[in-house]
Symmetry: C3
């Protein structure tokens, strides 16, 4: 008898957590889409205006995150392991934090993104968030396990793509003639965007470990 | 019936943990005060001497941290959740580690802190540690919940201040005429000081989640 | 009655985890040895070839890590605490990840390692992994507690050595005449190597906390 089966007998399903996770995932999808659109925008003042609105979504996710922790404190019985809920919540929150952190620096630093690294990162991040959204919405019933696993595998593969994108961009920058200050600025932003995909991978890993337990 | 109420029935209060956490918090307050005084000192050799003594406090906290982990291993029954004790211990230890790490670099790099960023960070850090001290000392009886929550909210707000201070300082540095090497040194130190406030926020978050469970 | 003693009565020993941890530790020893040999190699194209083969070991460890998480999901009863297994697995995986990450950058950046910092780091890392190997292989029976504790103490002391090595190298670089770009490259690699020893310390800390519980 698996750990999951045992839990299924004991635990009433406390549905509130699923709804809150879905709210966070939905906000992340909106952030990812807006981030991608912004970084495809050629008018930089328009782009910056779009990027600044990401803060509202980040605040919204902070509030939902806070509600999840309050629910976690209140509920003795939870539908998922307490540590999984905790880790899933934190990782989802980190995605929004780092995306907003990178957006702020893009607005502040006004780098010359010669190799179109920013839209390339935004593309990867938005895809990765899409896969995470699939995973999070699947937690409620865990019916289509193959689709969930595929989503998690995709997130892992996109994290590798982001890693490669960072490596290749840094190699180009190191052999280019840009100033050290510009190099430092760009490195700062690209690394932060790579961390966004790391946090997506963390979420995929928790979802995968939940799937293993409860299926 | 809440998780906390259930625990209150089952668990004898193993007071040793409270005392050890209070010892750590007290040492942190001393470190924060010394750090602040040092960074207000105009005589740099005197400043460096003060900063070097932070190592003793860091060592002291390492030892208490080690004792907490030994107690955690020995005690089957703990007054707080094992994972909360673990996470609180680690985060408190990180505050001392990063503060000492930053102090070492301040002594080693001898940066030109043109915008008085160092004393500004020390001010934020010392306030944040003060609020954490309030939170830690409140764990023993959890009477004044409003005061604990206020302390945690303050730590979160100070972390935002540190974030803004880092952003604003970096913006000034990027548009200044300092050399790239000096820029790298300063960025290194200021980022480390910002991490100190992140670790303070981690502590505040654990305290808040403990409060929710046990009240 | 200690937590460990209680567990010893209740838990059948699920030996699969020990075998998997030992496989990971063995792969890490091979990586550490190869890394050390590579960084002592004077022929740089030969060195790079050796460093590139580290990726195979990293992939191998990824697969074993994945198997551990699957086993963890399947098994309701585990020989060690679930959270200890989880944390030990993640930290061991991080060692391989950061070592391979650093190796990739060494190949890509072709830095001028004037102060022989790379072989010095490789020496520390290889020793630290050796001590971790001792610790991991001891988990199965926990007979020679003194040897395990000595191994964990050694890992902690080697992490301090790596910290000092990083500090001293950065100080030399800051007062040297190297270009800012070269400085950024070197800082990137050395910091990553220092993180490898941090991850080794994380592993030693988990092993130590397991020892305390079960002895």
């Amino acid at each position: 008898m698996s750990f999951g089966s045992v839990l299924k007998i004991f635990l009433p399903k406390d549905r509130v957590f699923y709804g809150l996770f879905e709210e966070v995932a939905t906000t992340l999808v909106q952030m990812g889409d807006l981030f991608k659109s912004a970084l495809q925008e050629k008018d930089l003042s328009k782009r910056d205006e779009m990027l600044r609105t990401l803060e509202d979504f980040e605040h919204k996710n902070d509030e939902i995150t806070h509600r999840i922790f309050i629910e976690l404190g209140r509920n003795f019985i939870t539908p998922l392991d307490r540590e999984d809920i905790h880790y899933l919540t934190t990782s989802l929150d980190d995605i929004a934090d780092y995306m907003w952190g990178a957006a702020k620096r893009i607005v502040n630093y006004q780098i010359h993104d010669e190799y179109n690294t920013l839209p390339a990162f935004a593309e990867i991040i938005s895809k990765s968030i899409g896969a995470i959204n699939t995973g999070v919405y699947s937690l409620r019933d865990m019916k289509d396990l193959r689709a969930i696993t595929a989503a998690c595998v995709l997130v892992n593969s996109l994290e590798n793509d982001a890693d490669d994108l960072l490596d290749q961009t840094m190699m180009k920058l190191f052999s280019s003639n840009i100033t050290a200050v510009e190099l430092i600025k760009q490195k700062d932003i690209y690394q932060m965007l790579e961390v966004v995909t790391d946090k997506c991978e963390d979420v995929a890993n928790v979802i995968e470990s939940i799937i293993i337990k409860y299926s």
